[in-house]
Subunit: 330 residues, 2 copies
DNA sequence: TTTTTTATTGCAATCGATTGCTCTTTTTGG
DNA sequence: CCAAAAAGAGCAATCGATTGCAATAAAAAA
């Protein structure tokens, strides 16, 4: 069913039908009603591609996520998707994976679809390669990075002071008389580098020397990974009094490791995660965590993108403050 | 940059450029190269809408999910999205929410975008209202329902025998000498009705009468909800020996409730969840769960949709068998 | 050298909308 | 009753591609 089919059956020109569809003035009431009846009768719905072509607007938005399965990323995507759908946009959500090449390919796909806006979820998009792709393929499209930086005129960013937050976690443990603190990183994303900086800074300002910085990397970002890393820490530094993990999920492995070793949490060992995810609420004892304000962050991202879509501000940087949620593990 | 801009600069017709882009034969090597250089020079990428209009194909697929944040739904969506993106489709992922009206609206949006295929995630889409919308707006588009039924000629379905699986969970508890079993439903979706049927069937075949069916509904499908439902069960039936929960997340609340009441799991009380989600692995003791084969289910859904997109089979029904993963809670 | 093929390329229609402008009607005012 | 203004509807161009068919040029055959 096209606009022409309707026009023919109504005995009018296609332009008239178009004007009825879009509620434009200058159509006689009688004609308008006759056309509307036919539209209803045939469940006519205009073709978005055809309309987009002439209107020069796709009303499409791209949301790029490294891995959509990561809980805090979906939560963000959800908020953004809801807001944009409500405003008549369709969201193309894609999991890019970690490789830069794949990210570049997906950016090309978004250009091909002529998206009017893009969300980049997570610090993994803050690479030179991505910057290059954007300059090449989406130089004028409003883009908002959630929790990441990219210095381009059309890219806005909302970030959280995770570094400062982690430093405050260190303060918290020290205040509880637990200054011997290790830090576990689940991967080497830019975001984790910030967290690590925060740890180092926090330790330093609490009087620790370099020899007191106990940093642990891990390969797999899972409960098991956290479990094993924690055992390693307990072996190498039996006097450890606190451990901070770069994400809650990994911290949960730490809780389990302490339990298996018969170590009292929080009595002997204080544990802190980051994310304020549901994992931290599920485990026993409940996890103290650094809330990185994901909900607020996503809402800001959505509203900044909305402004961009409406042609307003383009390059806006925003920071939110992380907050420690103290629960049973400290 | 349009095909005409390139054509003008190359001194050829637009049709020639089009043939170069699409690697069609009948273009002199020299011309081809000249055009290709310009395409590269200007980072030309064809407009998907314009191409779709003339080709009568959008290469768009819709994925409708009641709530994308639900872990097992994203996991499914991820698998499907990966497979379809690899084949050159773009996925429009939308969280519809539970209201039928909203679902109908989203189906209209998908029609407007002229999607070539649709995934309906979850049993919540198996309603008369959705059936009506599909008949009206997407009567010819291949649709695959994941874990749900809908009897229409263009709708395929992949489902899991959750009912039989739950019945086997009952068998398991009975075999362990724990025939007094309660069942907790997190909501009244069609899928949960199947689970409930399985519970009833399992109880019956293990010799229970109607008075032994302890069914519990709950309002919020959360850890807290499971916690409270479990306390209620323990109060009303102090002799309960096993509890089956419609999802793992809720079962985790049950684990905690038992712990707080000082009840030994699995000694005094056997707990079983459904989903084989990460929540079950995180909690202590680790949860015995009914694996509803979500990964396999999603892969099948993706491949059935792919067949549909290629114009092959339309109406295919498939069933997978659920499997009990026994861990520490039984 | 002329004719027939064959290899290239261009023309123009098409996909399904939107919209400025023109052409009729109808209405209003003098 | 006639001229001017207003209202209603249609024509045709446009958006950015694709593709069948016609046209031209070059190569091969006669």
């Amino acid at each position: 069913m096209t606009i022409y089919d309707i026009a023919r059956e109504a005995g009018v020109a296609a332009s008239t039908v178009s004007r009825v569809i879009n509620n434009k003035p200058g159509i006689k009431l009688e004609t308008r009603q006759r056309v509307q009846e036919l539209l209803k009768k045939y469940n006519y719905i205009p073709d978005a591609a055809a309309r987009g072509l002439v209107m020069q607007s796709s009303r499409l938005v791209g949301i790029l996520i490294v891995d959509i399965r990561v809980a805090h990323h979906v939560d963000s995507a959800f908020v953004i998707e809801q807001e944009l759908t409500r405003r008549g946009y369709c969201c193309i959500i894609m999991s890019t994976g970690p490789e830069d090449e794949k990210k570049a390919e997906y950016i090309r796909i978004l250009e091909q679809r002529r998206v009017e806006g893009v969300i980049l979820m997570g610090s993994m998009f803050g690479t030179a390669s991505v910057e290059e792709s954007i300059k090449k393929h989406l130089p004028k499209v409003p883009i908002v990075m959630v929790n990441g930086y990219l210095d381009l005129p059309n890219v806005s960013g909302v970030i959280v002071d995770e570094d400062a937050g982690v430093a405050r976690c260190v303060d918290l443990l020290c205040a509880k008389g637990k200054p011997k603190i290790a830090f576990v990183l689940d991967s080497v994303s830019p975001s984790n580098i910030h967290k690590q900086r925060g740890y180092c800074e926090g330790m330093r300002r609490n009087g620790a020397g370099e020899e007191n910085l106990w940093l642990y990397d891990m390969e797999e970002s899972t409960v098991r990974g956290g479990y094993e890393a924690t055992l390693r820490i307990l072996d190498e530094h039996p006097d450890v009094q606190g451990i901070i993990y770069s994400i809650d999920l990994v911290a949960v492995g730490g809780v389990r490791a302490a339990y298996d070793r018969g170590i009292d949490v929080p009595g002997q060992l204080g544990l802190i995660g980051i994310d304020n995810s549901i994992y931290g609420e599920i485990c026993m004892p409940k996890l103290t965590t650094l809330d990185n304000r994901l909900q607020a962050l996503s809402e800001s991202a959505a509203s900044i993108l909305r402004e961009g879509l409406e042609g307003k501000v383009q390059n806006k940087k925003m920071m939110m403050f992380s907050e420690i949620i103290e629960r049973e593990s400290t």
